[in-house]
């Protein structure tokens, strides 16, 4: 990649813009999208930047088309992404499933706003967290990352591309309106090409190539269109040749692999940040904009002598099961502030399994928690 394609340096930019720059740094050269608040700035930035560096920007007729164009571009061998918000995310669901089934590397950014339906188009929420996990039909496993700052909008977009290429799965960047529209310092480093991951590629002759050959690992090598492999891929349940096979056995083999390639690599995929966790009696589990407020509340609680800590989820899917399970026996209570009426708290409850108290601190959206609300909850649980 030519060096001047990437803007390096320190910038004051909003999260959406940082996401676009992160994509470019990660090697993304195709963007298809549809205007929607509060994600439009990602598309606007891409429409300006991609033509400068020989990439393709296209505004499609809707989010369904956007998602499909991204999949098509990825199968032509180009790193591709789209960005949207709730209503568009809903429209993309079926074809995120196609991306999972065809094992197509790509990135989908969802800058969350309050729903359901049109909801609060310009105001923050974190209401699509379970949709990210289960929104497309059928059983599958997905990767979702949550940035808490414009800097992380950049960093995690790069990571999202890397993970999507490594595991051949759509990776979701579950941002929120506050982080997307917030302007802060963003440092764009010169990324070494060695830090960028590219999908596994076939090393066999075309006549020996099997599109879903999993004999040497759970992530099969991926040929792309125009190279002479003459492969077939389908959204139907298929065998290693990519041919449809309508049997329970084929379904079992395929779904196990699609799930296991993520599930067996949780240690590599799932990232979180810990703040003063070691001796904590009350642990706040949070993510995105909510985690920034929780961080302040934890700091204030510490100043009051309360043993409080923060577990900030960076990867929400797959969930940090093991970490929460381990903490559960050492902690009195978990507090889960999130801008919905209880989504990730269910995961915390599942992992804690009754060993400690789990308490949701909900905000229905349109704003963020007050630090005092979280601080007061910490005080109550510490008593």
């Amino acid at each position: 990649m030519p060096k001047d394609d990437v803007l390096c340096g320190e910038f004051f930019m909003n999260g959406d813009t940082a996401c676009a720059e992160g994509a470019i740094s990660a090697g993304c050269r195709f963007f298809a999208g549809y205007p929607i608040t509060p994600a439009t700035e990602v598309a606007e930035r891409m429409s300006e930047r991609l033509p400068q560096i020989g990439g393709v920007f296209i505004q499609m007729e809707d989010e369904i088309a956007s998602m499909n164009a991204v999949l098509g571009a990825s199968w032509a061998g180009v790193k591709a992404m789209t960005a949207t918000s709730g209503p568009g995310f809903s429209l993309m669901m079926e074809n995120i499933g196609l991306g999972v089934m065809l094992e197509t590397p790509c990135v989908v950014a969802n800058v969350q706003r309050a729903g359901p339906s049109t909801g609060l188009p310009t105001l923050v929420a974190q209401g699509d967290m379970m949709q990210a996990r289960w929104g497309s039909h059928g059983h599958y496993e997905i990767i979702a990352l949550v940035p808490d700052s414009p800097q992380e909008m950049f960093d995690l977009t790069v990571l999202a591309f890397n993970l999507s290429e490594q595991y051949r799965v759509p990776v979701l960047l579950m941002a929120d309106e506050a982080v997307g529209h917030m302007s802060e310092k963003v440092v764009i480093p010169q990324i070494n090409s060695k830090e960028l991951v590219n999908r596994p590629r076939p090393k066999v002759a075309p006549e020996k190539y099997l599109p879903y050959d999993s004999r040497k690992g759970l992530v099969p090598p991926m040929a792309v269109a125009g190279e002479g492999y003459r492969f077939h891929v389908t959204g139907l349940t298929h065998d290693d040749r990519g041919y449809p096979v309508m049997t329970a056995e084929a379904q079992d083999k395929l779904i196990r692999r699609l799930v296991d390639k993520i599930r067996l690599n949780i240690k590599d995929i799932t990232k979180y940040e810990e703040v003063k966790i070691d001796d904590a009696e009350v642990v706040v589990v949070s993510y995105g904009i909510s985690a920034r407020i929780a961080r302040y509340a934890v700091q204030k609680a510490r100043e009051e002598g309360i043993k409080a800590g923060l577990l900030r989820l960076i990867t929400v899917w797959p969930f940090a099961d093991d970490r929460i399970r381990k903490l559960a026996s050492a902690v009195k209570a978990f507090l889960v502030p999130e801008i919905n009426y209880g989504q990730m708290v269910r995961e915390v409850e599942r992992c804690v399994a009754g060993k400690a108290k789990v308490r949701l601190i909900s905000h229905m959206g349109g704003g963020v928690h007050l630090p005092e609300t979280i601080l007061e909850a910490i005080r109550e649980e510490a008593r």
Binding site: D4, D5, L7, G9, F11, R29, F30, A32, E48, R49, P51, Q52, I53, G54, V56, I58, M60, E61, D62, I64, A65, S66, M67, N68, A69, V70, L71, G72, A73, S74, W75, A76, G77, V78, A80, E94, N95, L98, L102, V224, A225, G226, E227, G228, Y229, R230, F231, H232, V233, T234, G235, L236, Y243, P244
Partner: protein, 282 residues
């Protein structure tokens, strides 16, 4: 004494996934002959098969991608066109063909059809029109003629159908033709022409569906609908697409209706690339 003539290979076998034959289509269905025309057209057009991709949606015609030995994509219902759009824009060297049915392309994917034509993306669409949803057992769709019977129009279809050539021509397609699977030579020639012509090409192929549509509309045997094509078809190249509307028993105007020049989406995008300056140092 007669001797069995054994033919090991067909000249078009190299374009087909022969290991997947027999195919799923019913006897007397028109999708198979149209698929044969398509692969012969690739041969006729002299294209490098390694650089040709086929994208299909869902339905009987959506299964075509799975039988063609090229890079082939069987996507979701209605979405072959936007998938193909991404494929083509990300690698403009590819020849991209979309092979799908009338319900897939004109109903659930109708929005993508008009926008793909509007953009004049360099792509060839072969739309098998069998006037109904065959795979799900014969429901009415946006091409079902007025008064025709289907499993969801048991008293006759009360909706006006699309005139597909008129729709795509009005939306901006630069090559528009219609044939039936009775017109195999014309169809093959037309597909070859469309594949090599820059811009959005659309070929409607009328096809019998005796198993469901025919059975419900007094054309129960495979040959009945072919006879009807023979009797009703009129070849009229250059006909105004607005005059080629189909009905249950009226004339079937076939031919090449539109063949015009207009810059493709990629041509227009090249101008934008030239206009976009290198990033400014900030």
């Amino acid at each position: 004494m007669t001797k069995m003539l054994t033919v090991d290979t067909n000249p078009i076998d190299c374009y087909l996934r022969v290991d997947r034959i027999p195919h799923i289509w019913c006897a007397a269905c028109g999708i198979g002959p149209a698929t044969g025309c398509f692969v012969r057209a690739i041969d006729r057009a002299g294209l490098n098969p390694d650089k040709v991709s086929v994208v299909s949606g869902i339905g009987c015609s959506g299964r075509v991608a799975g039988y063609i030995k090229l890079d082939s994509f069987h996507t979701t219902h209605g979405r072959a066109l936007p998938f193909a759009t991404g494929l083509k824009l990300a690698n403009p060297e590819l020849t991209v063909a979309v092979f799908s049915g009338d319900g897939d392309i004109a109903a659930i994917g109708g929005n993508h059809l008009i926008h793909s034509a509007r953009r004049n993306i360099d792509m060839t669409v072969i739309c098998i029109n069998n006037f109904n949803y065959g795979m799900t057992g014969g429901q009415m769709g946006p091409t079902t003629p007025l008064d025709a019977r289907s499993t969801t129009s048991p008293y006759g279809n009360y909706e006006y159908p699309f005139n597909l050539p008129y729709l795509v021509a009005a939306s901006g397609a630069t090559y528009v033709a219609r044939w039936t699977v009775l017109h195999l030579r014309e169809l093959e020639r037309s597909i070859a022409e469309a594949l090599t012509k820059p811009g959005f090409s659309f070929i409607e192929v009328l096809s019998p569906c005796p198993t469901v549509y025919g059975r419900l509309n007094k054309l129960p045997r495979g040959l009945d609908e072919m006879h009807s094509y023979q009797e009703r078809s009129i070849i009229r190249d250059g006909a105004d697409p607005r005059d080629v509307e189909l009905s249950q028993s009226g004339p079937i105007v076939v031919g090449k209706f539109v063949d015009i020049e207009r810059p493709t989406l990629w041509d227009c995008y090249q101008q934008i690339l030239d206009r976009a300056s290198k990033p400014k140092k900030r």
